[in-house]
């Protein structure tokens, strides 16, 4: 066929949740070994490495540290740091690297022992001091990381009448999906009332409106489509991708109720020749419940301001018109830092291969994956399919 395109040929993840006694590199190794076995490839086939920074250790050059750990002598390597958009972007950049001939088999891997490495309170303080807030113009006022999203939620409620119950429905639905994922961190079902009754962290966000902190790692192997078709698994193709950014910091944003996801989504759909109606399953980044509502609107799945009602009407569940975040996401599935959004990519691949078990979306052919980083700042949208065109 002379196909110059690339495809995802294998995926793998470590145990996710509380996984004491394993370092970041051990968890990444677990995921990488699983992804290569899934593809039917060996470490010796890998000639490119993509990874993200970790928070639990200082890695001078993360892609170099990871490649060195595995004994890979790569022809291409890159550290991707777009915060929560890193997982989507790693796939986008690996596909581009394979298609441009820079490498043949790219290993994308991310994750760490974020939960076991330190106590939760230390993680909160560290994130508040070094996290998404502007060090001069935001951190001195004492926002938690969730406060930065609470500002978005409060404004969204003011402009569009979005309700706490609708935010809670996001958490409840995604927890149900996690309950069907054997490797998810939090699997006990929660109701809307449970979310509303949970501790208020930073109004209007309760603790169950917020992502969890986990240990875990995820990996994927990208290679030439032709080669992928000769391997063990159904290849998954990147049909379109896009990026967007409308503000660097939340305090600087002209509006808090729409985001660069408008731009990343529009670009991805245009490149793929698709519309939101073509999407069978959407693995939406869910660091906080409000993030999901803003993204559903910005990506065009419902009109601006209607995200709360869209969720409340049951559209995002497995039986709904647009099942989202079917593995349990960051709210329940697992969130080991920058690698968190990479699990969304893996779940899209599983859905498109028909391997998602009890949470399988029937006949899924097109999956959207969306990652965002900063505070709904930098966005990367992928459209993946089990069909090359």
């Amino acid at each position: 066929m002379g196909d110059s395109r690339a495809a995802i040929a294998g995926i793998g993840e470590s145990q996710v949740g509380k996984v004491p006694g394993r370092s970041a590199l051990q968890l990444q190794s677990d995921a990488a070994v699983a992804a290569l076995a899934d593809a039917g490839l060996a470490l010796s086939d890998v000639d490119a490495v993509f990874t993200t920074p970790v928070r639990v250790e200082h890695w001078n050059m993360p892609a170099g540290v990871v490649a060195g750990f595995f004994g890979i002598q790569p022809s291409y390597l890159s550290t991707v740091d777009l915060a929560g958009a890193s997982g989507c972007s790693m796939i986008d950049q690996a596909v581009a690297a394979v298609e441009s001939g820079r490498c043949e088999v790219a290993l994308c891997v991310a994750g760490q022992n974020l939960l076991s490495n330190r106590s939760r309170s230390q993680a909160v303080q560290s994130m508040a001091e070094r996290g998404s807030g502007h060090p001069q113009f935001e951190v001195p006022y004492g926002p938690l990381v969730p406060s930065l999203y609470a500002l978005i939620a409060q404004r969204h409620m003011h402009e569009y009448g979005t309700k706490p119950e609708q935010l809670a429905a996001v958490a409840s639905t995604i927890r149900r999906h996690a309950s069907l994922n054997p490797n998810a961190h939090k699997r006990d079902p929660i109701s809307i009332d449970d979310v509303l009754a949970s501790r208020m962290v930073t109004s209007p966000l309760h603790v169950l409106d917020c992502a969890i902190v986990s240990d875990g790692a995820a990996a994927a192997v990208v290679t030439r489509a032709e080669r992928a078709r000769s391997l063990r698994r159904t290849p998954v193709y990147l049909r379109g991708s896009g990026y967007g950014l409308r503000h660097g910091y939340v305090g600087d944003a002209k509006t808090l109720t729409s985001s660069g996801a408008v731009d990343s989504g529009r670009t991805a759909f245009r490149k793929a020749g698709m519309t939101p109606a073509d999407v069978d399953v959407a693995e939406i980044y869910d660091c906080f419940t409000i993030t999901v509502i803003v993204e559903l609107e910005d990506l065009g799945f419902c009109p601006k301001g209607e995200g709360g009602r869209f969720v409340e009407d049951g559209n995002i569940g497995l039986e709904g018109s647009l099942p989202i975040t079917t593995h349990g996401g960051l709210l329940s599935g697992g969130h080991p830092g920058l690698g968190g959004g990479f699990f969304h990519v893996l779940e899209a691949v599983r859905q498109l291969r028909g391997e998602a078990g009890e949470r399988q979306v029937r006949d899924a052919e097109v999956a959207l994956v969306h990652g965002n980083g900063g505070v709904v700042s930098v966005h990367c949208t992928l459209l993946l399919s089990n069909s090359p065109s």
Binding site: F137, G142, P143, S203
Partner: protein
């Protein structure tokens, strides 16, 4: 308890005038003399038009609450005594947004759109002041 002092911003060459003015009890924000628009946080290039013809402009420090959140868990020991406290984004009358604390108001009384005015509170150990906001008028004031 030096670790419980609220952090003072470490200014840099692009922002030092903002913080030094605040410590004098003045609220000054960058104004682009090319396009006539203000911006925050302070840059050395106008984020609206790309010009570097910037000047510092005295601001009355008035505006309204664009959004807010009541923080119920301190991010660090320095904020524990303040819980619950209000973190807000203010839209200044000149246009720019900025993040701040709202003081002199009970958290339940804060409303989006409420008029506010700049004030200053201590930060760090060297007598620095940073801009905060208080109700400017209306029923939110205690």
């Amino acid at each position: 308890m030096s670790n419980a002092v609220k952090p003072a911003p470490a200014g840099d060459p692009a922002t030092r005038e903002y913080w030094e003015a605040a410590s004098r009890g003045e609220f000054r924000i960058p104004l682009c003399t090319a396009c006539g628009r203000h911006h925050l946080y302070p840059r050395t290039i106008c984020p609206h038009c790309g010009s570097s013809a910037l000047a510092w402009s005295d601001s009355p420090g008035t505006g309204e609450v664009y959004s807010y959140t009541v923080v119920h868990r301190a991010p660090s020991p320095a904020f524990e005594a303040d819980v619950p406290y209000v973190v807000a984004v203010i839209q200044l009358d000149e246009g720019p947004h900025l993040m701040t604390n709202l003081l002199d108001i009970t958290p339940e009384a804060v409303r989006i759109g409420q008029r506010v005015r700049v004030a200053f509170r201590a930060a760090g150990e060297d007598g620095a002041l940073i801009p905060v906001f208080k109700p400017d008028e209306g029923p939110g004031a205690p």
